[in-house]
Amino acid sequence: MRNWWKALTVILLLYTIIGGLLIPVPKQVILYESIRNLYFHVPMWFSMIFLFLMSVVYSIKGLSSNNLSHDTKARELVNAGIIFGILGTITGSIWAKFTWGAWWVNDVKLNGSAITMLIYLAYIVLRGSLDDEQKRARISAVYNIFAFVLLLVFIGILPRMTDSLHPGNGGNPGFNSYDTDKNMLMVFYPAVIGWILLGWWIASIRIRISTLEQKLEA
């Protein structure tokens, strides 16, 4: 059973969707049933950060070994991460419309996500403007590492210094108010693992496709 984790992904995500929509949740003012978006919106960001982190790992490996396959992996992990970032923004935007009353609010976490997208779009632009494969691998790896560390600083430090509408920031109640509800955690943790595995799955398929394409070209 080499692909046991793919079966696990399917089971976890089926459980997330069915359980997430059916298992009772605590009634809270403003949030009501939209609280179920927690199983979809939050894991998107976890998956995105996980994919970007793995991309940086492959960038570091690529810099130390000069192996071009690491560069392919780093690129496709970034692409998959961007998909999850877009999904996280969409789910968050819909949730914001129904709870905060606007599609987009000036909030430190929203700005952080926008900046994350800008950084990785810049990464893609940078790759596009380099022709030589070796050079592209090396230079984009350097930018990937540099940007990711500063991104971690941004999303790690700054939200703690400013107010935010998100739970757990600036005097808002944190996840503690949900933590007391066992039903929600029973779906939330499997959902996080499931979505992260799905991200890894998507990335691995993309890596295989582009490796095959490179072989065809060569």
Binding site: V125, S129, I139, V149, V153, F154
Partner: protein
Amino acid sequence: METKFEFHYLCEKLGQIALSKEIVQLLKKDITVELRQKATLNGILLYVVSTVFIAYLIFSSIEELSTWVAILWIILLFASTNASINSFRKEAGREFFYYYSLAQPQAIILSKMIFNALLQLVIAGLTILLFTFLLGNPIENMRLFYLVLFLGSLGISTILSLSSAIASKTNNNATLTAILSFPIMLPTLLTAIKASMLCGLGFSWDECQVYIVTLALLNVVVIMLSYILFPYLWRS
């Protein structure tokens, strides 16, 4: 055993001396070239003067602190971007091999960082002078504000140094420097703006401490990352 250990120690020490010597020489070269040609310096001075003058014509005087701080940092950001865009132009072409054989990569990036930081400090000093002269100065705690200005300028110029080094390896240099550096510059910029606002309202060290320490840490992180990553960039 002992002599071997001492030999290694000596080599390391010599390497450090060589590195700092190279940095000083490269810096001297950059400054001499800049003072002789004055292309970047004059351009930047004119840029700062004209943008501040435009702001003066629009606002005539700025009473609101947040507007004052925002315009100051926007002008600083764009002036420093213009100043740093071409900082690796001389090293990018045929001369690359000459520099490659001549100096360690660490010396090159550190000397560029110091040069850009000096340039940025000139820009910041001039901008703040012109702002005070034309638009007034609403900052209450000026001494702390200078520290924020210093650390913020340092952060902007160090990030721009590595970004323009990356961009100089491609063929659309000018646009790419801005695209690459603006998103990663935001933590530094936002922290600097927040700290400037607090200084402007007259808060003391105790209240601004968090932001100033964060700024200093960001600087350290950027300088260390550049020191580690630039050799890989340089080799390609």
